[in-house]
Amino acid sequence: MTLRELTPHHAARILTLRLDDNEARWLRALGVTEGARVTVLRAGPFRGPLQVRVSERTTFAIDRTVAAAIDVAPEGSLA
């Protein structure tokens, strides 16, 4: 399952970044790394980016095409 398909407010862990090397390094530098816990909060208007909470504290706007290239393992529903 990819980050893009993740139901909003359901937590997951990042498994792999299926992106080109430079882009993957950039995401890791931001803190979006393998093993990080992620939750999709909402999607932007006009088919815009996803707002994703990463490692509980930081939130990112992540383009849908990038989200579609991030494989995640769902953890189960949050309260």
């Binding site: 803190g31 990112f60 990038v66």
Partner: protein, 639 residues
């Protein structure tokens, strides 16, 4: 503590070791800088570095050692940079030069303790550089409020460099920082060997931060506050509406506050002119100083307030965390045009002035997107166009206030439309290639630091006067000369008047030479002289037309010039200009990049003359075609 201007030549200009502050955006780096240096700072221009880097000199209390503290742009990573012109590229270039020139320097990484793992990724990159490193952890108070405690020791041991934890809002933090700096400079502070970093940021962070207590009620409130605000501000319907309202309100505020301030400054410049007019007389020198130089200075000052006010507003929005939300809301809408959500920041700024807007493109990480935005920014309606719009609308649509208002709004919309359409075309031609998708941190909402806002305003004001002011002054002076030096070969007038002297000037001769090109648009040599003046700076258009028409103070009182334009005779009993001329002139001003400061800024940011020529040619070509089409259309509509 003293502050320095930086000389050219050597990168840092003196022998004092430098302290380079580095850190992720939103890491609290500017608070640390403020705490260390006492808020205010000089903005240095370093050769080869386009970004203004803040720096201040101070003396370490224990060793009496002078040091220079430099605040580098915020970066997530130094190694994953794409474009040397962006903030990250600048920090990287700067660091590379410090290393290459063997400047004595200490790196200070400011690291948000509440986002430790993310910040440690940058630490790893910094450890690979051959410079001493001090890690400063901020937000320990936030961490504590969240019920977590941080132990510095395991971090220090794993990293092999000194680590201090501070609360930047606490005045005592300055002492802690200075002592740590002195130790690093003395070279006796490094507790362990600088190993090639083998540790894993995530587990190191997990080892250093521990859950110890209950989360404080305040921390819970803070966390909930951002979530609640996001629910409203990022709502798919309400969010964009609030965004639009905020932007409209922002511009209304900018103009309503800037107007009175500009008038006050203008009164000052005028009384100075009156004061100088007496001793200098009405001769050539007097005319040059009062009309040529002071007029130009007045024009610069008239635009300064709105630059400063818009900067303050943008800085407040940025520091509060809202600009990242704006980018989130707009990304989907801008993507079809080959732009990303963040592009709205420079595009908004360009409605005041393209020069700071071009500098604002440094936040765009994608080099192609950044270049595209730079190339279309001159199409957006900067405030320097407004006096010309006002004059032309007043001259040809004076009796029809509703049409006037509709046309005024239409001119803005045409600018925005042109910018996005041209950007779409460029993304399929000159700047085609893969687009980097948006990945952007959305920081928690917080209240901005007023000192940082004040500093940004100071930087923007200084940069505007330096980059735009000098060009306006120089162009005003050149134009004055062109209009006062008689053209060689012009017949000698036995009874010269101001107006007839003007008609035989070099400027008029150039204006006449351009008539074959501009006749289809309805422009005669007089308007051409105005266009000639506005080639350097479009701010000069109204004043130049005033001089040509023999009307003084056209900048302050455009009504009489508007009447003159409307009623001017063509020598055959007909009107010299009509509404179609007016429409053509308005449309020409929408598209043409009549601004040398903008061209200079494009040169600076793209490091190439190619794009300067490109912008000049495409905007003038577009301006001519669009003005021609618009004047024909106006004729068909019976204007």
């Amino acid at each position: 503590m003293s502050h320095h201007h930086h000389g050219v030549g050597n990168l840092l200009g003196n022998d004092a070791p430098c302290v380079l502050l580095l850190g992720r955006p939103n890491s609290g780096k500017s608070s640390v800088y403020n705490r260390l240096t006492g808020a205010d700072a000089k903005v240095g221009n370093f050769p080869g570095v386009t970004v203004d880097i803040l720096s201040a000199d101070l003396t370490l209390p224990t060793s009496r050692q002078p040091v220079r503290v430099l605040d580098l742009p915020g970066v997530y990573s130094l190694d994953v940079t794409l474009d040397p012109g962006t903030d990250e590229g600048v920090a990287r270039t700067f660091l590379d030069r410090v290393i290459a020139e063997k400047t004595r320097a200490v790196l200070v990484q400011v690291l948000d303790a509440s986002q430790l793992a993310a910040g440690l990724a940058l630490t790893r990159e910094l450890l690979a550089r051959p410079l001493p490193l001090l890690v400063v952890l901020t937000q320990r108070d936030v961490l504590a409020a969240e019920g977590r405690s941080l132990s510095v020791k395991p971090l220090q041991a794993a990293l092999g460099v000194p680590v201090v934890a501070i609360n930047a809002h606490d005045p005592a933090a300055r002492g802690t920082l200075l002592v740590a700096l002195a130790e690093v400079l003395a070279g006796d502070a490094t507790p362990g060997p600088r190993m090639p970093p083998e540790w894993d940021a995530q587990s190191l962070a997990e080892g250093a931060v521990r859950d110890v207590a209950v989360v404080s009620a305040e921390a819970l409130r803070n966390r909930a506050r951002t979530d609640q605000l996001d629910r409203v501000l990022l709502h798919p319907v309400v969010g964009p509406v609030i965004f639009l309202a905020l932007m409209v309100g922002l511009f209304a505020a900018v103009y309503s506050v800037a107007g009175p301030v500009s008038s006050a400054l203008d009164v000052g410049v005028q009384s100075l002119g009156a004061l100088l007019a007496r001793p200098l007389g009405r001769g050539l020198l007097g005319s040059f100083v009062t009309d040529g130089l002071l007029g130009g200075a007045g024009t610069v000052l008239a635009f300064l307030p709105q630059i400063v006010i818009l900067t303050a507003a943008m800085e407040l929005l940025d520091a509060s965390g809202y600009l990242a939300r704006g980018a989130f809301l707009l990304d989907g809408a801008l993507r079809p045009f080959g732009l990303g959500g963040r592009a709205f920041v420079p595009m908004l700024t360009a409605h005041a002035c393209a020069v700071p807007a071009i500098a604002a493109t440094r936040i765009l990480r994608d080099p192609r997107e950044r270049l595209t935005v730079i190339l279309v920014l001159p199409l957006l309606t900067c405030s320097a166009r407004i006096p010309t719009y006002g004059l032309v609308l007043g001259a040809f649509f004076g009796g029809r206030p509703v049409l006037q208002a509709v046309l005024f709004v239409a001119l803005y919309l045409v600018g925005v439309l042109a910018a996005v359409v041209v950007s779409l075309v460029l993304r399929h031609s000159a700047t085609r290639g893969r687009r980097l998708p948006l990945v952007l941190e959305m920081p928690a909402f917080r209240s901005p630091d007023p000192r940082a806002v004040a500093r940004a305003c100071f930087v923007a004001g200084k940069r505007f006067v330096r980059d735009v002011g000098t060009v306006i002054l120089a162009c005003g002076a050149v134009l004055w000369v062109l209009l006062h030096v008689p053209s060689p070969g012009a017949p000698v007038d036995s009874h010269p008047t101001d107006a007839s002297a003007m008609e035989r000037s070099v400027g008029a001769a150039i204006g006449r030479a351009l008539e074959p090109v501009t006749r289809p648009l309805g422009f005669d040599w007089r308007i051409n002289v105005g266009l000639l003046g506005s080639f350097g700076a479009r701010e000069l258009m109204v004043g130049t037309l005033g001089v040509i028409s023999g009307i003084e103070d056209a900048d302050e009182h455009p009504e009489s010039l508007a009447t003159r334009l409307r009623t001017a005779q063509d020598g055959h009993g007909g009107r010299r200009y009509d509404a179609r001329t007016g429409v053509a002139l308005l449309v020409f001003f929408v598209f043409a990049c009549q601004c040398m400061s903008t061209l200079a800024a494009i040169r600076r940011e793209t490091r190439s003359w190619r794009w300067v020529v490109f912008v000049t040619v495409y905007t003038y070509a577009l301006a001519w075609v669009a003005a021609f089409v618009a004047s024909r259309a106006a004729g068909l509509l019976g204007l």
